[in-house]
Every structure is written in structure tokens, then in C-alpha cells.
Amino acid sequence: MAEFQWPWQYNFPPFFTIQPNKDTQAKQLEAWCLLVLSYCRHRRQYSLDVTDAQDSPLFHNQKIGRKLPLEAVYTVLEELRKKGNIEWTDPKKRNRCLIMWRTPEEWGKIIYQWVTSNGMNNTVCTTYELVNGDDTSNQEFHGMESWLLTRALQTLQIERKAELMGSEGVKFF
């Protein structure tokens, strides 16, 4: 895995303090949202445990000794939830969330594009080989977790581009 490119803000100490100036704060939160999504995308991470994340390099820059406070972590995650990029698995406690750095619709499009360019229309395949097979090893959706794959395929199903067959198969049109 290539080294993750941190944005300039990550090494800027104030980035880890929620800013009092509203306009600056808006820019800051937007940058954090982008950082969380690109970090998870880089690591192919589909879920996030808040406690673990707080101590991870994502929210804790050891080099400059700055850590995003828990309350601020929740502020950032709430922004992402509003945008549709995360979903709490436990909305009351908010310990863990699912991450969608791409929406299910976007994933659906990408998968279908791959299917078409590989001439797999009107064929059936297992969901396993779709995201774990050698053929897709260089695709962004390789290794995708099943909950997200299902949602992505469901968006294609609505468009009549695919049909789910049980929980393990899918037919593409």
C-alpha cells in the first residue's frame, strides 16, 4: 500500500482545535470530513470504531502532539452522517459506524462498468468472486464488505441492471 498523503492541515496544530470563527470552522470541518473518507478509502476500511479511531493516526498526530478531542470527533462524524457517508451501527451509543467513502449508487455504477467492460452482461456470478476473485484484484471495490456490496447491487437492481439471487449470487443484465 502506498504511503498515505496527509493534507497540509494535518500538520497544522490548530487543525485539532475546533475553531471559534464560523467560516474557518466550516473549512476545518470540511477538511476533516475529506480526511476521514480518504484515510478510510486508502486503507479500504469500511467501518470505524470511535475509541480505536481516536488513538489512531487519523485523529492523533503524534509528531506534533495534537489529538482531536472526542467531542470534536463526534462533530466530524455527525457531519459525515448528514452527508450520507457514515451510518451508526448503534445510534444510541455511537461506538461504531459503517463508512461509505462512496455512496451505494456510486459503487453500483463502478461495479456495473466493470461488468460491462468485461463482457459479463447476462451472466451470473457469486458475490464472493465479485469482490474477492483474482479478476477484480485491481478494482477499487475489491475486498468490499458484503453489507455495502448488497446495497450497491440493490441500486443496480432498481435500475434493472442486476438481479440478486439469494445472498450469494447476482445476475447482471
Binding site: 497540509w8 497544522f12 496544530p13 490548530p14 487543525f15 482545535t17 471559534p20 474557518t24 476545518q28
Partner: protein, 245 residues
């Protein structure tokens, strides 16, 4: 063909004439006046010939350009003074600085979301040099002249010296007063200040220091950092290097 105009010869001549009429005690002999006037006109003509001959060098070489500007200034000639005339039409020197001005505005607008409208001259130069091959040899001197021109045009542009020959370029209209620029100068080495460092280094009262800091935060020029051991620090994105560009 005699050119009417704003050249050094015409100005000098006028001044001499004025001096002559003003100070009756000092009578400048008519032939001395004529001689001086002719010398200046000759000099200006030589300057024009020189400029034409070295047109390409002037465009391509920053050091040459700087020395040429100084030569011109020494005889009261400002190649950037007007849009018309020998200098801008023949040499395109006006164009050079005009185009540079446009690029300065572009870079400042593009980086404003990050730095609030304040950028180090060095960073500005690097970004412009990165934009095109023709801009490889743009110097800080070139930029400062172009910024001066922009300022005359009524834009919000200003270059603020921060010591050691370094400058901060301000591109937003909000006036920075002396207190603000002093704090920026203090912050320049490390990229940040605190209320206590201002009080101890500049010997200001707390309220004065806080006023300046609040203003900087309000203008989006400074961000606050509450995780430093010594108390709240104020960091300036303009003074924080962004290697990614």
C-alpha cells in the same frame, strides 16, 4: 521626429525653467540650460536604444531586468508609467508586469481559502514559477513592482515587510494596521504567537494584544490552537509552508 512627452529631458527642462524664474538670484545661463537639456535627451535616447537591443534579455533575465529598472529610475523614467508610448509598446515591459499582476491576483485568489488573503512573497513566487516555463525567472523584485502597480490600480494589494528582506503580500481590502503587521512580524519565524509572547516581547498591554489576535481570527488570518502547554496559540496559515502546493 521629436517626441512630446514625459521623458526625463522634458521634465528636467521644465524644472530648470521653473528654477530660473523662481530664484532670480540664481541665473542659469541659457547655454548651460540648453546643454543640460540636450544631455538628458541624449541619455534617454541611448536608454531607449539599449532597451530595444536588449529587449529579450529584459524579458528573460530577472537580474538584468532589475538593473535596467534601476537605470531607468536614476534618470526619472518609469517604464511602467503609462500604457502607451515607447516603453510599453516597443518593449512590452508594461505587458510583462501587467501579465505578472494578473497571475499574482490568480494565485492570491486561489490560496485565499487557506490563508485568508495573506501569503508569503516567497510562496507566491514559487507558485507563479510553477505555473509556466516563461515564469521561471520571476524575481521577488519583479513581484514587488507588479504589486505596486496593482496597488495604484486601487486593488487591495500591499506588500508588508516582515524583516530579513521577506514580505507578506496582502490581497484583501481589510486594512492591517501597524499593530497587526507587528504581530505578523513577530510570528514570522515560528508561524505562531500567543498573547503572553506578544506581551513579553513587544511589551504591550494584554488588552492590546488580545484585540489584535481577535481581529486576526475574525478575518480568517489566524487559527487557534488550544493544545499547547503554554496556553492558546495563534497560528497563521500564510506563514505555514504547504509543500503540496
Amino acid at each position: 521626429m521629436r517626441r512630446r512627452g514625459v521623458g526625463a529631458g522634458a521634465i528636467a527642462k521644465k524644472k530648470l525653467a521653473e528654477a530660473r524664474y523662481k530664484d532670480r538670484g540664481t541665473e542659469i545661463a541659457a547655454d548651460q540650460l540648453a546643454q543640460m537639456s540636450k544631455q538628458l535627451e541624449t541619455f534617454q535616447k541611448h536608454l531607449e536604444e539599449f532597451a530595444t537591443k536588449h529587449k529579450d534579455d529584459i524579458r528573460r533575465n530577472a537580474e538584468f531586468r532589475r538593473q535596467f529598472q534601476e537605470m531607468c529610475a536614476a534618470v526619472g523614467v518609469d517604464p511602467l508609467a503609462s500604457g502607451k508610448g515607447f516603453w510599453s509598446e516597443m518593449l512590452g515591459i508594461g505587458d510583462f508586469y501587467y501579465e505578472l499582476g494578473v497571475q499574482i491576483v490568480e494565485v492570491c485568489l486561489a490560496t485565499k481559502p487557506r490563508n485568508g488573503g495573506l501569503i508569503m512573497l516567497d510562496e507566491l513566487r514559487e507558485r507563479i514559477a510553477g505555473k509556466s516555463r516563461a515564469r521561471q525567472d520571476v524575481s521577488n523584485d519583479d513581484l514587488l513592482r507588479a504589486i505596486k502597480k496593482l496597488k495604484v490600480l486601487g486593488s487591495g494589494f500591499t506588500a508588508i515587510p516582515v524583516g530579513g528582506g521577506r514580505y507578506l503580500v496582502q490581497s484583501v481590502p481589510g486594512e492591517l494596521n501597524m499593530d497587526h503587521t507587528t504581530v505578523l512580524q513577530l510570528a514570522e519565524g515560528s508561524g505562531f504567537v500567543s498573547e503572553s509572547s506578544i506581551v513579553s516581547k513587544l511589551r504591550w498591554e494584554k488588552e492590546r494584544a488580545q484585540r489584535v489576535l481577535d481581529h486576526m481570527v475574525k478575518e480568517g488570518l489566524a487559527w487557534v490552537d488550544d493544545q499547547a502547554t503554554e496556553g492558546r496559540q495563534y497560528w497563521f496559515p500564510a506563514l505555514f509552508p504547504d509543500p503540496a502546493g
